[in-house]
C-alpha cells in the first residue's frame, strides 16, 4: 500500500521538523523521549484522577491501577523489604508484594485527595547512569509549587522511585517496612498481615 501525503500534512511535518531543529535540547534520544513520555502519560492519568474528584475509595482504586501500569512494582517491593527479603520464602515474597501494592495505593492515594484542583507539569528528562530522571512540578491550590522527580529504569521502562521535594520514596518505604518488622520482632508473616491493614 502506498501512502500519499497531502500538501497540508507535508507542510505540517516540514514545519514541525524545522521547529524541532530550532529548539535547543529538543534532540532527545529515543529512550529519553520514552522516559518523558511515560511520565507524561502517568501525569495525565494522575491529573485525570484529581480532576474527576471521586470518593476516597474510588481514588485509591484508580491510584492502584496507575501504580500497576507505570511503576516497577517488583523492584519497589523488593527494595522496601531490603535485606529481610533474602530470608523470605517465595510464598512470603508473593504475599508481601500483594499487600505492599495495596498499602502504597492507600497511603499515596489518600494524600492525592489534597491534590483536587491542582495539577502536575512535566519539565524535562535527563539520563543518569542506567536511569532517566524526569522532573515535574506540582501546583496545588493555596500552596507554593513543589518539585517531584521520577526515576525511570532504562531497562524496565517504568518508574522505580520518586523524590518529593528531596524526599526519596524508596528509602522512606524501606524505613517504614523495617520499623513494621521490628515491631513484630522480625516475623515476616505478622508484618505482611499488618501491612494489608496499613496505609
Amino acid at each position: 500500500m502506498t501512502h500519499h501525503f497531502t500538501r497540508r500534512q507535508l507542510l505540517g511535518s516540514a514545519l514541525s521538523l524545522a521547529l524541532i531543529a530550532a529548539l535547543p535540547g529538543a534532540a532527545l534520544s529515543a529512550t529519553e523521549a520514552e522516559a518523558r513520555g511515560l511520565v507524561d502519560r502517568l501525569v495525565a492519568d494522575i491529573n485525570a484522577v484529581i480532576t474527576a474528584g471521586k470518593s476516597e475509595a474510588a481514588m485509591i482504586a484508580d491510584f492502584e491501577r496507575i501504580f500497576i501500569t507505570y511503576a516497577d512494582m517488583p523492584y519497589i517491593a523488593a527494595y522496601a523489604l531490603g535485606a529481610d527479603g533474602r530470608r523470605a520464602s517465595p510464598a512470603q515474597k508473593k504475599a508481601f508484594s500483594a499487600a505492599f501494592q495495596g498499602y502504597v495505593a492507600r497511603k499515596y492515594g489518600k494524600q492525592f485527595r489534597k491534590f483536587i484542583g491542582g495539577r502536575i507539569e512535566v519539565n524535562g528528562a535527563s539520563k543518569v547512569k542506567n536511569a532517566y530522571q524526569v522532573s515535574t512540578t506540582a501546583y496545588l491550590r493555596g500552596q507554593s509549587p513543589f518539585e517531584v522527580t521520577f526515576f525511570v529504569g532504562e531497562k524496565s521502562g517504568r518508574f522505580y522511585n520518586m523524590y518529593i521535594e528531596g524526599v526519596n520514596m524508596l528509602l522512606t518505604e524501606r524505613t517504614e517496612i523495617g520499623a513494621m518488622l521490628d515491631r513484630r520482632r522480625g516475623d515476616l508473616d505478622a508484618m505482611i498481615r499488618d501491612l494489608a491493614q496499613a496505609g
Binding site: 512494582m73 507554593s144 528509602l171 524505613t175
Partner: protein, 257 residues
C-alpha cells in the same frame, strides 16, 4: 580615631556571640565511615526519642482539635501568613548577604519594599505575581554555605527536628532580626507574633499529613527523622551529607516479587 561607645559595645557583643558560636560549632559531631547509614547520623538517638515522645504528646490533638483554626476564613489566614513572611524578610536578606547571594538578597529587598507598601504593610503578597516569589533563608543555611558540617540529628523540644548546625542557626536567628532593632517596643513583637501564628496555620493546613506520619507510621521518630533530613538537605542543595547518591534500578534481585 575614637570609636563611639555604642558601636564599641555592639562590636564587643558581636565578638562574644561569635566566640560562643564557634565553641558550639566545634561540638558539631561528624560521622566516621559507616556511622551514618542512609545518611543519618544520630548518636543521641535515645535522648531524641524521649523528646520526640514529648513533642508527639503536644501535637497529639493538632489534627482533630484544629477545628478552630480551620474555621478561620482563608483570606485572614493568608493575611497572617503574608505578614509573617514580610516581617521575616529583613532577616532573610541579612542572611543572604552573609551567604554572598547578593542577587537573591536584592530580590528579597525589592520583595520586602513592594509587599510592605503596595501589599499594605505585608498583608497581601503582591510581589509573587510580579516575579518575586517567596525565598526564605536562615542562619542555619548561612552556616551551611560557610562550609560547616551538618552535625548530628537532633529533635528539639516543641520546635521539632533539627541538626546541630541548624540548632545553632536558630539560636543566632533569635538575636539577629534587624526589624527587632529598628522598630520601637510594641511594633517589634507583631512580626514575631505573626510568625508563630503562621506556623500554627501551616501545621493545621498539613494536619492530615502530619497525623498520617505521626500516628499511622510504625516508627514515627524514624520516619520524621528521615523525611526531615532529606527535605532540609534538598532545600539547602546539600549533597555532601546525603546517603546513597544513586539507586541502581537493576542492582536488585526481584525474583519472586
Amino acid at each position: 580615631m575614637r570609636i563611639p561607645m555604642a558601636v564599641y559595645l555592639t562590636r564587643a557583643r558581636a565578638g562574644v556571640a561569635l566566640a560562643g558560636l564557634l565553641v558550639a560549632l566545634a561540638g558539631c559531631s561528624v560521622p566516621g565511615p559507616g556511622e551514618a547509614p542512609d545518611g543519618i547520623h544520630d548518636p543521641q538517638e535515645a535522648t531524641n526519642r524521649r523528646i520526640h515522645a514529648f513533642n508527639k504528646s503536644l501535637t497529639g490533638g493538632a489534627g482533630q482539635g484544629g477545628g478552630v483554626i480551620a474555621a478561620i476564613p482563608q483570606p485572614v489566614k493568608a493575611g497572617v501568613t503574608n505578614f509573617a513572611d514580610t516581617a521575616s524578610l529583613p532577616q532573610t536578606v541579612a542572611n543572604q548577604i552573609l551567604q554572598g547571594r547578593l542577587l537573591r538578597a536584592s530580590r528579597n529587598t525589592l520583595r520586602f519594599t513592594v509587599n510592605a507598601t503596595l501589599g499594605l504593610a505585608g498583608l497581601f503578597d503582591v510581589a509573587s505575581p510580579l516575579g518575586l516569589p517567596e525565598d526564605e533563608s536562615d542562619f542555619g543555611e548561612t552556616l551551611y554555605v560557610w562550609g560547616l558540617p551538618e552535625g548530628a540529628y537532633m529533635e528539639l523540644p516543641v520546635l521539632g527536628p533539627s541538626t546541630e548546625r541548624d540548632a545553632v542557626g536558630r539560636f543566632v536567628d533569635l538575636f539577629t532580626d534587624p526589624l527587632y532593632y529598628l522598630l520601637p517596643s510594641p511594633d517589634r513583637y507583631y512580626g514575631t507574633g505573626a510568625r508563630v501564628a503562621a506556623k500554627v496555620i501551616k501545621l493545621d493546613d498539613y494536619g492530615d499529613q502530619i497525623d498520617a506520619l505521626m500516628n499511622d507510621s510504625a516508627d514515627s521518630y524514624a520516619q520524621l527523622r528521615l523525611i526531615w533530613l532529606q527535605n532540609r538537605r534538598f532545600e539547602l542543595g546539600d549533597d555532601r551529607a546525603g546517603g546513597e547518591d544513586y539507586i541502581d534500578p537493576e542492582a536488585l534481585d526481584t525474583e519472586g516479587f
